[in-house]
C-alpha cells in the first residue's frame, strides 16, 4: 500500500477497524467539499446566464425591481453596459458586460480544475478503504477459524 509504513496485513482487527473509520471520515470530508464547490459553480453559471438577458435591446424596459427579499417596485432597466460583481469580502467591482462574462467563465474553470484535483484523491482513499475492509474481513474470519480450532481441541 503506498504511503503506509506498516503493511496492513500486519495490523490487528481493531487497528483495521480504526483505520477504516478514519478513511470513512476523510472520504466524507472530500465529498462534502466537492459538493460545496459544485454548488458555487452552479451559482456562477446562473450569474453568467442571467447576464445574457442584459442586452442593449432591453434598455429602458419595464422591470419589477426587488428592493428587498419581499418587496418589489416598478422600474426600468437603466444600464446595459456595466454590472456590479461581488468578488467576496465586501468588495464589488463594476465591469462592462463582456468582461463580466469573462470573469464568470474564468471562475467556473478554476472551480472545475479544483474539483478535478479532488477526484483522484477521493478515488485513492476509496481504494484504500476497500483494501482495509477486505483485510479486516480476512482477519476476522481467521480469528473465528482459530477459535473454532481451539474449541475443537
Amino acid at each position: 500500500m503506498p504511503g503506509k509504513e506498516v503493511p496492513i496485513t500486519e495490523l490487528g482487527p481493531s487497528h483495521l477497524n480504526q483505520l477504516s473509520q478514519q478513511l470513512d471520515q476523510e472520504i466524507e470530508f472530500i465529498q462534502n467539499s466537492m459538493s460545496q464547490l459544485k454548488v458555487v459553480q452552479t451559482k456562477f453559471v446562473e450569474s453568467r446566464d442571467s447576464l445574457d438577458k442584459i442586452i442593449p435591446d432591453n434598455k429602458g424596459k419595464e422591470i419589477l425591481v426587488p428592493l428587498t427579499s419581499s418587496m418589489y417596485v416598478n422600474g426600468q432597466l437603466s444600464d446595459v453596459e456595466k454590472v456590479l460583481i461581488n468578488i467576496g469580502t465586501g468588495y464589488y467591482i463594476e465591469k462592462p458586460i463582456p468582461e463580466a462574462k469573462e470573469y464568470f467563465k474564468r471562475k467556473m474553470e478554476y472551480l472545475t480544475t479544483q474539483i478535478e484535483k479532488l477526484q483522484p484523491a477521493l478515488q485513492e482513499k476509496y481504494k484504500m478503504k476497500q483494501a482495509v475492509v477486505e483485510m479486516l474481513q480476512v482477519k476476522v474470519q481467521a480469528q473465528i477459524a482459530a477459535q473454532q480450532q481451539v474449541a475443537k481441541s
Binding site: 451559482k43 456562477f44 446562473e46 450569474s47 442571467s50 447576464l51 442584459i54 422591470i63 419589477l64 425591481v65 426587488p66 428592493l67 428587498t68 427579499s69 419581499s70 418587496m71 418589489y72 417596485v73 416598478n74 422600474g75 426600468q76 432597466l77 437603466s78 444600464d79 456595466k82 454590472v83 456590479l84 460583481i85 461581488n86 468578488i87 464589488y92 463580466a100
Partner: protein
Amino acid sequence: MQNSSINDRRQRERKRSNKFERNNLNRINRICKHNYFANELSKYKNKIKKRLGMLITLIGIKNDKSRISDPFKIDNKFTKDSNKIANKFCEYFSGMGKTFGSKMSYPDKSFHYHLKYTANYQRSMFMLPIDPEEEDVDEFMKRTENNESAETVLRRLEEQHSKYKFMEYNLNTKKSRLKSQIPDIRTTLDIVKHMQSKKDSQDPMQTHFQMSDNLFVAATVPPTDKVCLWLGANVMLEYNLDDAEALLKKNQEVAIKSLDQVEEDLGFIRDQTTTIESIEYLFNIERFTWKSQLVTLHDMARVYNWDVKRRQAATSSQQTPAS
C-alpha cells in the same frame, strides 16, 4: 244494405276525421320506431355499450347529472340557476382566507396559560405537566392511574419527556425563523419610508438590484406610490405606500409577539424537562434503597430536601434501636 251504406258513410267520416288521422299517424310512428330500434339493436348484437345506449334512448331515461336537484338560497332567493350558484361558491372559497383570518382572534396567551386553565388538561394524557402544587406523595401514588406502581409512573414520565423534547425542537425552529424574519421586515419598512419621502420629488431613484448571487444590475425607479409585496405562497400583491407601511407594521408586531410567546413556551418546556430529568435521575438512584414511592417534584431543591429528611429519618430509626 242500408246499414252497410251507413257504416260505409261512417267509415268514410271516420277516415277523414282528425282523430282517425292522428291515430293512423301514431300507429305508423310506432311501427317505424319499432322497426328502427329492432334494426339497431340487431346491429349491435355484439356491442353491449351501443346496445345499452339504444335501450336508454328507447326507454327515454335522461341521465342528466348536471341538473341541480334542490334549489340553493342565494341572497334570500331560491334559485337553480347554475351560473349564479357557481359564482356564489367561487366568491365564498376565494374569500375564505380573508374572512377566517379576520374572525380568528390572535391568541395573546401562550399555550402554557391555556394548559393550566383549560378544563380538560387534568385528564389529558398528552400534556399532563407536573403540577407544582402537588405536595402529597402518598396521595399521588394512590391515584388510580398511578396504580401504586413506580414503573408505570416512570414510563409515563419518559413518554412526556420525549414529547417535551419534540415540542422543544419545534419551538426552536419557529424561533429561528421568526428571528430571521424580523430584521427583514424592518429593512422593508425603512425602504417604504424612504420611498414615501421620494414620492413627492420628481426625479427617479437610481439603484442596484441583485440579479443573482454575485451579480448586481443598475436600474432606475421613477417616483411612484405603488409597491408590490411578496406575501408568500406564490402570492404577490400591489399596495399603495401607506397600505404597504400599515401591513408591514402589522406583520412586524405579529412577528415580535410570536417570538415572545415562543420564548415563554420554551421556558416552560425547559422547566418541565428539567423536572422530569431530575425525577428520573433520582429515582434511578433511590430505586434499590427505597420501595416504590415516587416523588412529585417542583424543583431540585424540594427533591433534595425530601431526600435529606428521609435519610435523617432512616438514620434516626437505625440509631434508636441501637441506643
